[in-house]
Symmetry: C2
Subunit: 353 residues, 2 copies
């Protein structure tokens, strides 16, 4: 519940007009003890630091805080910053960066340093799609979550539509004629505790798995749990998992991998088993990390994580929140399929089983 | 327990309104010794000073501008931001981001917006190692160039030591017994004009080529210009160039590639020619883009571009410049060899030629 000017006025026992004059730096004609009461009330109610400081200077800082959990260390997530910055720039706003990490105390310090600099709003970005607990310090400022949402959707947020993205990948494989499709999912459990706390399982893994099963069911394909596995989400994890799925007579004709790094590992497994991609095995990844997708042979068909678009949207919402007290919105950003050369119709006998 | 404005006022023996005015930069009518008492009390109590109060005392905003040419769009360069931020954070400074691009007018606007926000210093980062013309607006502020330097070295700067990195790669190949070593360099000419103007050829390509020739000469290996070529610095460029170098009887036993993306293309070329890596062909890349280096099979031996270390160093220098009028320094940061599995002794007959 955001503290309003009228709350401050009521507590200070003055009119809203008086409170506004004090808090907007137009207190020239107001008695010092009245000013005092308003400032004390504003402070007691938590009507600061942002609103008070901003009002005292009767202008905005035209700076948006960008709080992230190591976002700059993940390559594709840099696009979130770029998207946010593009929009900010267009409106004359600058981006003030702060990182949070697994050290709660250091992270709290970073966030407070951001707020101390009187940012007009905060965008709170996470490296992976997460459901988080919103830091208490943010509840008094306009805030937008980026690549994350709160459990109760009480804060404006944008997340990738992992479900629809995985659905598109699976529909593509089925449309190409595949019926035995393996799924290598992320093994959860590598999540770190931190300032920003995960409240549930990673949505990406949960939603993609759901889509995998839903698409198979929709097309009348019997569920075969031996075609599904989990592994650490890196090339080695993908390689080990793919070898286990492929080194058998009734192997799948296609693999849907949790991310492009695992897909690269699946390529290695296939090659070592003498399977050509896409002739003997189709592979679809997720993320569209161009560095990987274009570096491996053949180039990888995968699903785009829309970091740039999410960054833009988050900044647009943050700027909107400065002008109006909008209801929180949660946007699920589409994850389009990016077709390259790793998918073909199945030609292996087991495709007919 | 958070320190309140009223605590500061009580300790300074002034009203909260007076304390507020001082701490919010509206101290025009207040006596200097009163201002002093409030500031001392605020500091003694650990009251979080806001930006204005701080600037009253120190004339600093405790914010460093980070100007970059699309740095956030390149995956590995995000490490520059992270390094800078780590150091800034440790000293209570925040990073204010601005991007410049090929549109000179927009870029000038971005830079001016940064300076308008009273940043204490500016770090000017480029995506690739470049020799640049320093924007005129920066000559009046403390500034550090990151991954770039000025032609006359008149501004403090940090760049990767591309020469020594390439030397380490080549010495490694020679030490493994290779004497016919191909070099696939970047084809210059894809540089964009922009706000930050290149004054010479890309230093990375020039220095790496120099090191290639110097190491061969040092070991008495005759120069063979048919082993050297240039191509666009992406997987397709690497593949085409590697095919031309390898599809001949006296092919090289090792390839040194301008970057990891080209090395990935060289892997594809080798595979299509039936050459196993590292048994038939050793490959060394440059960049240490872990996403690629770990995704391709076998994992790639390459040279690290020290973005994180350069980011840290640049921020340390920027903070130093706030305190002292230091002479400009240009630091060449080491680029260490990262050994993985793509290099072995030569076993092909042409190694004996």
């Amino acid at each position: 519940m955001r503290v309003r000017l009228s709350d401050v006025a009521a507590m200070a026992d003055v009119s809203s007009a008086t409170a506004s004059m004090v808090l907007n730096g137009k207190a020239g004609a107001i008695r010092p003890d009245t000013i005092d009461r308003v400032l004390v009330a504003a402070e007691a109610l938590g009507y600061r630091p942002n609103a008070l400081a901003r009002s005292l200077r009767s202008q905005q800082s035209h700076t948006i805080g960008f709080l992230s959990d190591d976002v700059v260390t993940t390559p594709y997530a840099g696009a979130m910053i770029l998207g946010a910055q593009e929009v900010a720039d267009k409106h004359g706003f600058a981006l003030l960066l702060a990182n949070v990490d697994s050290d709660q105390e250091a992270s709290r310090h970073s966030l407070e340093a951001l707020l101390d600099r009187q940012v007009d709003a905060v965008i709170c970005a996470t490296m992976y799609h997460r459901i988080i607990e919103v830091p208490a310090q943010l509840t008094n400022s306009p805030a937008v979550l980026l690549n994350a949402r709160s459990d109760d959707n009480s804060v404006t947020a944008v997340v990738p539509d992992d479900y629809a993205g995985a659905e598109a990948a699976m529909e593509h494989l089925v449309a190409m004629g595949h019926r035995r499709i393996g799924f290598i999912n992320d093994r959860a459990g590598n999540r770190r505790p931190g300032f920003i706390i995960d409240q549930t399982s990673p949505p990406a893994a949960v939603e993609r798995e759901q889509a995998y099963h839903d698409v198979l069911r929709r097309h009348g394909i019997d569920r075969d749990d031996t075609l599904q596995t989990r592994a650490p989400s890196d090339p080695t994890g993908g390689r080990v998992a793919a070898t286990a799925l492929l080194d058998r007579p009734d192997r799948p004709t296609a693999l849907f991998c949790y991310n492009d790094r695992m897909a690269a590992g699946a390529y290695v497994a296939a090659r070592h088993l003498g399977l050509a991609i896409p002739e003997d095995l189709s592979v679809v990844g997720f993320d569209n990390q161009v560095l990987i997708a274009e570096a491996i042979d053949p180039p990888l068909t995968t699903v785009q994580l829309p970091h740039l678009e999410m960054g833009r949207w988050a900044m647009e919402q943050a700027l909107t929140l400065l002008d109006e007290n909008a209801e929180p919105r949660v946007r699920r950003m589409p994850c389009p399929l990016v077709e390259r050369e790793s998918v073909a119709p199945p030609n292996h006998p087991s495709a007919d089983t």
